[in-house]
């Protein structure tokens, strides 16, 4: 019982970190620029496949992760500066464009990968197998995801709280005009944040491959997860996104271990509860 619970918690934490990696970028972009990036899930999926390809080709796991993050950052920056910037302020047009991008990426990936799902053929040996402290059995790879997620969360937190750009971003989340008043180059900041958010999604995707496999369907499911977590955490709140991810991931795995049929809907049940009783989300919601 204790052993199962521990496994459930570890898996839950790992899932939370994947959720966090997709949702934090989504939330940052939405909070700062008011953009609902429907292509965000596709970047997660694309990151997964980029990493898969690089790892298959070079055999280096960490190169795969880096390639996924970097390439998604570039794609994100291109989407922001090439397409979205021209329609800035036009909420509806932005939604349409990101939907179009998502549509293209999804079907492009279908051409290349079809319905198959793939996983890494080679990862470092210390990430395989399990740790067995006492009666517990812990998967190394899940532990790796947790560490990676925590490092990323810490880095983003430091970025937001310790850097100049972070200050501008936080100010911009409250009020874009205020960010301008700080003398910020809002355009460059927007592109930067979009790139960072996309990179996080790509990294998340890359990390997920070793556990839940890369498939085209990931794009849409993780977009919906990001939606749900942002609703649970509170629209536009970064802290809320973190807590929302934890709550959602752990709940999912607890259900998966103990009441399996509720695992799938658990995220959306959580969301329904939030919707009914606390529409502003866990963190109160900085922006409506």
């Amino acid at each position: 019982m204790i052993a199962t619970l521990a496994s459930a918690l570890i898996d839950g934490l790992a899932l939370s970190m994947l959720y966090f990696m997709i949702a934090s970028g989504f939330s940052l972009i939405f909070g700062l620029e008011g953009i609902v990036n429907f292509a965000h899930g596709s970047l997660f999926m694309l990151g997964a496949f980029v990493s898969y390809e690089v790892v298959s080709y070079t055999g280096s796991f960490y190169l795969g992760l880096a390639a996924a993050g970097l390439s998604m950052a570039i794609i994100g920056a291109l989407i922001e500066s090439g397409l979205l910037r021209k329609k800035f302020g036009n909420e509806m047009a932005i939604i349409m464009i990101t939907l179009g991008v998502m549509y293209v990426i999804h079907h492009g990936a279908l051409i290349r990968y079809g319905a198959a799902s793939s996983t890494y053929r080679k990862i470092p040996s210390y990430l395989q197998g399990t740790l067995k402290p006492g009666q517990l059995i812990l998967n190394n790879y899940q532990l790796f995801i947790i560490v990676l997620g925590l490092i990323i969360a810490g880095a983003v937190f430091l970025f937001l709280n310790r850097t100049n750009v972070g200050l501008i971003v936080r100010a911009g989340i409250d009020d874009v005009d205020m960010a301008r008043a700080l003398g910020a180059n809002t355009r460059r900041t927007f592109t930067l944040v979009f790139a960072i958010g996309s990179a996080l999604a790509g990294l998340g995707g890359a990390a997920s491959v070793g556990w839940i496999y890369a498939s085209v369907d990931l794009g849409l499911s993780y977009l919906f997860f990001a939606f749900a977590i942002v609703v649970i955490g509170g629209l536009g709140s970064f802290k809320g996104t973190f807590y929302g991810s934890l709550l959602a991931g752990i709940t999912h795995e607890l259900f998966a271990y103990f009441i399996p049929f509720l695992a799938g809907p658990s995220l959306f049940i959580l969301m329904a509860a939030i919707l009914l009783f606390k529409p502003e989300g866990l963190a109160g919601g900085a922006k409506q």
């Binding site: 939405f30 008011g34 609902v36 397409l83 021209k86 329609k87 909420e91 509806m92 047009a93 939604i95 349409m96 464009i97 939907l99 179009g100 991008v101 998502m102 549509y103 293209v104 999804h106 079907h107 492009g108 279908l110 051409i111 849409l220 919906f224 939606f227 749900a228 942002v230 609703v231 629209l235 049929f261 799938g264 809907p265 995220l267 959306f268 049940i269 969301m271 329904a272 919707l275 009914l276 529409p279 409506q288």
Partner: protein, 396 residues
């Protein structure tokens, strides 16, 4: 003759001609042009796209969970046909009702965040809750699991008699209506012209009716326990035309006008004395009912209803693409968009496969940049003038 021209230029007459054209399509399939089946699908999806436009284009609410209404409509029809053994017509009423009721439920749940992006978030959430239940094995009994629910072909879709009524009725009524228009609008021209026109059009009508009779004979020899493609075709066409005219009436009604003012400025709409919540609830419910109806029609078209094929989120995305491409807030645009894209898919898919969808996605992005009002929207407005302004200038 002048009056005839003017008559043809008016809305209803030209629409009637379009409808007549489509009414003739199944006859061509007799000559080896098998387009009725893809067109049936287009009509059904167009109804769905129309429900989407009604909500987004007129009230400004982007419901990202619209496929919930569509999917539940399809399931409602499957249930009524399977378990109740009731007629398809009753099933369709149930489908629309469930769509409307879910719309009301959604509105009540999102009451506190009933606009803009938050509504989009919450509507998707609402749909995902139901969808994720339908995907679970536990609910296989009601969802039919991965294989889906099989449903019997409703009588109206396999009866040759129904087809007779459709073909003769549809063509007959339309021909009569056109003869009547010609008769009415040529008043004043010489007797010979009038007689000539009447005889000529009656002759064409006679040829058409002869073809119909041949066509029906041909079909009667086919087995009658399967779905007859022309039956589905006519039913979908009829419902589409009816829904279109109903929707047009609704958007010009007092309620429809308030929807548009909510789209334009919700605060002001409240300050001039309307309760925005009530009107938004009506919009979501009406749109939900129409989406449910479309789902109900789609069920026997598919023959099996499963969570994967009726709750498909890409169907919602496509409906959005159709409505935007054709022009939001035009109703016709949603139908046109559905027609263009689905035909494009139909013809390009055998040639370039999945690349079709990439093409559609790129086309969509290009349209958003170059024709922000969509095809119909751009046709109707030039240089920021409204259609009515142009008409007014033309009239004097």
């Amino acid at each position: 003759m002048k009056t005839l021209e003017r008559h043809l230029k008016t809305h209803s007459s030209s629409l009637m001609i379009v409808a007549l054209f489509f009414a003739l399509i199944p006859l061509f399939s007799y000559f080896g042009l098998p387009y009725s089946d893809i067109l049936t699908r287009i009509f059904i999806i167009a109804i769905y796209a129309l429900s989407f436009d009604l909500l987004l284009g007129y009230t400004g609410l982007l419901n990202f969970g619209q496929s919930l209404f569509f999917g539940m409509g399809a399931y409602a029809t499957a249930y009524t046909l399977n378990w109740g053994g009731m007629s398809f017509l009753i099933a369709l009423i149930f489908s629309a009702a469930i769509g409307g009721l879910l719309g009301i439920l959604l509105s009540i749940m999102v009451k506190r965040s009933f606009k803009g992006i938050p509504f989009t978030f919450f509507s998707l959430a609402f749909a995902m809750i139901v969808l994720s239940m339908y995907q679970k094995r536990l609910f296989q009994g009601i969802s039919g699991g991965e294989g889906g629910l099989l449903l019997p072909v409703p009588g109206i879709l396999r009866s040759i008699w129904a087809l007779r009524v459709y073909e003769f009725g549809f063509l007959g009524l339309l021909t009569l209506a056109l003869l009547f228009i010609i008769y009415r609008s040529t008043r004043g021209s010489s007797l010979y012209v009038r007689i000539g026109l009447m005889v000529g059009s009656s002759g064409i009508a006679a040829i058409v009716f002869y073809l119909v009779a041949q066509h029906l004979d041909h079909l009667a020899k086919a087995a009658t326990y399967e779905r007859l493609i022309p039956n589905s075709y006519y039913l979908a066409l009829t419902v589409l035309v009816a829904v279109y005219f109903l929707a047009r009436r609704i958007v010009s009604s007092p309620v429809g006008r308030v929807w548009q003012s909510i789209r334009e400025n919700e605060t002001r709409t409240g300050v001039i004395g309307y309760n925005p919540f009530n009107y938004k609830l009506m919009a979501v419910a009406v749109s939900g009912a129409i989406a449910g109806l479309a789902g109900g029609l789609y069920a026997p078209y598919l023959l099996t209803v499963s969570a994967a094929n009726v709750f498909d989120p890409f169907l919602t995305i496509k409906a959005l693409i159709f409505a935007v491409l054709g022009g939001l807030g035009t109703l016709k645009g949603a139908i046109l968009g559905a027609g263009i894209i689905l035909l494009l898919e139909h013809f390009l898919n055998p040639l370039i496969g999945e690349w079709t969808n990439i093409l559609i996605g790129v086309l969509f992005i290009v349209i958003v940049f170059t024709m922000p009002r969509g095809i119909i929207g751009e046709l109707m407005t030039t240089g920021g003038k409204s259609f009515r302004e142009i008409i007014k200038e033309m009239v004097g």
